[in-house]
């Protein structure tokens, strides 16, 4: 990836900064509206608590970033749009209409914010910045986040980066704002790999594709549509994916570097290998191998090529996924008669069932935070995406449909992406298949724009 250097930006003379992560930008509707109160009571802060139900979105003004030349001004406007869209999509912010803004980008560049101007339009937070070309061809981008009610800078940074990198900088800025306000890491500077689909259901054409989390920079990673590709998953440590490909009609697990598109088969076995996922250190892939009708879980060390079997039942053991600490693996198995979720130690020992609700459970995916497992549930003819704790308690269903499947976590463990497929009629119409995201709270469900139908999403870690 392109280099991106940054350092904190001190507030202008005469203003205080609040860098401490313990303090959050105040403000939910009711309290902040109480005007004199918030002016001087900087200590009485209320954070956006994203672990609760849908919070009141924070009214934020994102001013166009100032640029002195027409080119710089254009990039500044584009960056503000990307930041605004990220914050809006999170469901936690309510960006205000820039047409209502009184203070101009140029005025914000020249002097500190005129806070009454921003309070007048009911902004509670203000984001502004500027970009400037450097002699070496790179650009310097500054941004600041202000709490409009206590006249205090809450965050600020300077980035120096190649000009072509402006979109990433905008996502990094949105992540900084998200983190400052919620106390949680953001997830905007990330990518999503998925399967792009088209054609009739009987002869569906599938390609791997990758895009930024907001749908920008879309590109196809595979072009040969003769062979199916399925279930891509990101490495937690590098820009690599592992997936299933039917190259030459031999279903095998592959690893690909998404920047170079170089791919490599992960071992070659007499049976079918599928359902791959990286270990948290990125050095191993856990997968299923089907032989003579039995499907067991194996782990392959990508460096030593050592291959070891973790389960030995004559059942279907599949969809394995490591815990983020690497010590346990969750998977689904029909060893008890129906598809349920099981957890075992990373060496295959101590298998115990964790799902006991009505219906079948599949595709368990451990949260990057370790606290929850997302899954697909099938019961009474419907599909659900849900979460439960690793001990099986606290099951919550987030969304339901004719067919939803394949949850993947944002790296901060607060948002889940999955795909939804609609019914097909007997003439082959319908079957629309699209990616969606939803907050862990079950709120803020959104369709992700893709050029074609889309399935099997996998969220990247934050880009290093």
């Amino acid at each position: 990836m392109m280099t991106l250097s940054s350092r904190p930006l001190s507030p202008p003379a005469g203003f205080s900064a609040d860098w401490s992560m313990g303090r959050r930008l105040v403000l939910t509707g009711g309290v902040a509206a109480f005007w004199g109160f918030s002016q001087k009571m900087a200590a009485a802060e209320i954070r956006i608590d994203i672990t609760r139900g849908q919070p009141q979105p924070l009214p934020v003004a994102v001013s166009t970033f100032f640029g002195a030349t027409p080119e710089e001004a254009q990039v500044g406007a584009d960056m503000a749009r990307v930041v605004t869209a990220d914050l809006e999509r999170s469901g936690l912010f309510r960006p205000l209409d820039p047409r209502a803004f009184i203070q101009t980008p140029a005025a914000l560049k020249a002097a500190p914010p005129r806070f009454p101007d921003w309070r007048q339009i009911n902004a509670q937070a203000l984001v502004h910045g500027n970009g400037e070309g450097q002699r070496d061809g790179r650009v310097k981008v500054e941004f600041r986040l202000w709490d409009v009610f206590v006249d205090q800078q809450m965050a600020g940074s300077v980035f120096t980066t190649p000009a072509s990198n402006w979109r990433r900088v905008a996502h990094v800025i949105a992540d900084a704002i998200y983190k400052r306000v919620t106390g949680e890491d953001g997830y905007f500077d990330t990518r999503v790999v998925y399967v792009s689909e088209r054609g009739p259901q009987q002869r569906r054409l599938k390609r791997l594709a990758i895009m930024d989390q907001d749908g920008a920079n879309h590109k196809f990673l595979t072009t040969d549509e003769r062979f199916l590709v399925l279930t891509p998953r990101f490495s937690p440590t590098s820009q690599e994916i592992t997936y299933l490909s039917y190259v030459n009609n031999r279903p095998r697990v592959y690893v690909m570097d998404v920047d170079t598109a170089r791919q490599e088969v992960v071992g070659d076995f007499p049976g079918i290998t599928f359902a791959p996922r990286f270990s948290p250190d990125g050095n191993r892939v856990v997968l299923s191998l089907s032989e003579d009708g039995d499907t067991r879980i194996y782990v392959m060390d990508l460096r030593t090529k050592a291959f070891s079997r973790l389960t030995s039942s004559t059942a279907i053991d599949t969809s394995p996924c490591f815990a983020p600490d690497g010590r346990q693996i969750v998977f689904n198995s029909d060893r008890g008669g129906s598809q349920q979720l099981y957890v075992m130690e990373a060496n295959g020992a101590d298998v115990r069932r964790i799902s006991f609700g009505a219906g079948k459970y599949a595709t368990p995916v451990w949260s990057p935070r370790g606290d929850l497992i997302a899954f697909t549930k099938i019961t009474e003819g419907k599909f659900y995406i849900g979460v439960m704790r690793p001990d099986g308690s606290g099951e919550r269903l987030l969304t339901e449909s004719f067919l939803v499947e394949g949850p993947t976590w944002a790296p901060n463990g607060r948002v889940i992406m999955y795909f939804r497929q609609e019914r097909t009629n007997e003439r082959g119409q319908g079957g629309r298949t699209r990616l969606y995201s939803i907050d862990l709270t079950g709120d803020n469900e959104r369709e992700i724009n893709t050029p074609e139908d889309a399935s099997d999403p996998a969220w990247s870690p934050l880009i290093p």
Binding site: P200, R204, L228, L230, L244, S290, G428
Partner: protein, 171 residues
């Protein structure tokens, strides 16, 4: 005589299906004349001469019924399909140089990865019975497509039943 008539009908269907691109999966559960238009006979005579497929060819095999169907989330062979696999075995004994691939398929009502495993189980259930009837295990390979290659479109019970199948293809 009857089989010849069936062959002609099947070939007619085959030609018709070739002209109209998206097709249904053929008479998978029915009279045994399963037609798979996507896979024409490997050594078929020119279409104008209405000859039956060459003996031992892919088209010839399809005439005896090229697929067996399964219950939802099951891989046990139903009794009525045991008879079909016995026909496969007889046919393979008649053409000892021919090899089969048995494809395991599922309906859309399961998750992708589980269905790949279930399809593998179905393909192997068919293969095991074929081998038990005296067919050399090396003549039969298996592959699973999970829910990726339905024979029939439609989100309804009838389509799902047609799609839960083990489908044998002459290599």
């Amino acid at each position: 005589m009857r089989s010849k008539v069936l062959s002609l009908i099947a070939l007619g269907l085959l030609l018709a299906a070739c002209q109209t691109a998206p097709q249904q999966g053929g008479a998978a559960g029915g009279a045994g004349a399963a037609v798979q238009p996507a896979a024409p006979p490997t050594s078929a005579a020119p279409a104008t001469t209405l000859n039956a497929p060459a003996p031992g060819s892919r088209g010839d095999f399809e005439l005896i019924g090229d697929r067996v169907l399964f219950d939802f989330d099951k891989s046990d062979l139903r009794p009525e399909y045991r008879a079909r696999i016995e026909r496969w075995a007889d046919w393979l004994k008649r053409y000892p140089n021919v090899r089969l691939t048995i494809e395991g398929h599922c309906d859309e009502r399961g998750t992708r990865e589980y269905n790949i495993a279930l399809g593998d189980r179905r393909a192997n259930a068919a293969k095991r019975y074929l081998v038990s009837l005296g067919i050399d295990t090396n003549r039969v390979t298996t592959i699973s497509y999970g829910k990726e290659r339905p024979a029939v479109v439609g989100s309804n019970e009838s389509a799902w039943q047609q799609n839960r199948r083990g489908q044998a293809v002459v290599n």
